[in-house]
């Protein structure tokens, strides 16, 4: 699971959960997979993300080094920043671990890099 994906996931489909976002990450195996840098792509993605959630997610798994907590107004001109964002969003892969719903505590396993967000019928709203 990439951190860009974590930024999109919620557990609010669980009965009684209001926002279910962000999910806490517990990582037991993290891999770094090189991805070609594409500044146009990263520039377009950043405004669509919850940056604070991304920073906290990266920090919680020990990968926030050098990543600013907030985005500067002219971030698209700062290539060093874009490369850091690229690394954190696309190159860090949580291979094994679990995600935890912030309200219910329900855990979602991550296995072989793929989060399992399946719920039983009884758990769904």
């Amino acid at each position: 699971m990439k951190l860009i994906t974590h930024n999109m996931l919620t557990s609010k489909c669980i009965k009684g959960v209001l926002t279910g976002f962000p999910l806490a990450i517990n990582a037991t195996d993290i891999k770094i997979k090189e991805v070609d840098f594409n500044s146009e792509f990263i520039t377009r993605v950043i405004p669509k993300l919850d940056w604070e959630v991304l920073w906290c997610a990266a920090n919680s798994i020990g990968h926030s080094d050098g990543l600013p907590k907030t985005i500067e107004p002219k971030f698209e001109e700062d290539e060093e920043f874009l490369k850091k964002a690229h690394h954190v969003l696309l190159e860090i892969e949580v291979e094994e671990g679990h995600l935890t719903c912030p309200e219910s505590g329900r855990q979602f396993p991550i296995s072989k890099g793929i989060p399992n967000m399946l719920l039983t019928e009884a758990e769904v709203q």
Partner: protein, 207 residues
């Protein structure tokens, strides 16, 4: 659009994951026919629901390298195959083992693609998590599709487009009516007869 390489897949894996067939390629052909429109949208996020082998979402990612592609499947083995297909073809991609799109935040996706389990079966046949889930559609072949239709208005970005493959037995007119109630207009992008099936791809955008 280019056809993704599939030479990384061992044929035996298709015992558990839907093997690309005419319907998969019709969906790719529909996207190719709509390439001009898609280039204008210039999508940032594309989601394929129930991606199986991953061939469709990978073809999309190859055509739009500035788009982040993501897929879901209820079958874990399909998720792993989708990821390997994207990797084989150098597409930036991630996948989540999920029922349809239930665990995503709202209004995210510029493009949502769905080649549903559309075969008309008994209700009890659909709703599994294995290879049967890739084709068994229950009543009218629509039980899974109708569940997704309910979620589209919330999950699609405001200027997004939803592409859906159906067969005539699914009664596309009813699907068009349901989506029209949600405020979407529809268009048939492509239609083709394959043996005893009349397959078509519909596009829905906010009207």
């Amino acid at each position: 659009m280019e056809t993704p390489y599939q030479d990384h897949i061992n044929k035996a894996e298709f015992d558990h994951v839907y093997e690309p067939a005419e319907d998969s390629f019709l969906l790719i052909d529909a996207l190719e026919r709509d390439l001009h429109y898609l280039s204008e949208i210039n999508p940032t996020f594309c989601l394929e629901v129930g991606s199986g082998s991953g061939i469709v979402v990978t073809a999309f990612g190859m055509a739009f390298p500035n788009c982040f592609c993501i897929s879901t499947d209820i079958n874990f083995k399909a998720c792993t195959m989708s990821r390997s297909t994207a990797e084989r073809n150098k597409v930036i991609f991630d996948t989540v083992n999920m029922d349809l799109i239930t665990a995503f935040n709202d209004n995210l996706f510029d493009i949502i693609l769905f080649n549903p389990p559309y075969v008309v079966t008994e209700s009890k046949e659909c709703g599994g998590k294995d290879i049967t889930a890739s084709w068994a559609g229950g009543l009218k072949g629509r039980e899974i599709t109708d569940k997704l239709l309910d979620m589209i208005p919330k999950k699609l970005a405001s200027k997004g487009a939803f592409y859906l493959l159906l067969i005539r037995e699914n009664i596309p007119e009813e699907v068009i009516e349901i989506m029209s109630k949600y405020g979407f207009k529809s268009e048939i992008i492509i239609e083709r007869r394959v043996r005893n099936e009349q397959q078509l791809v519909l596009k829905f955008i906010k009207s």
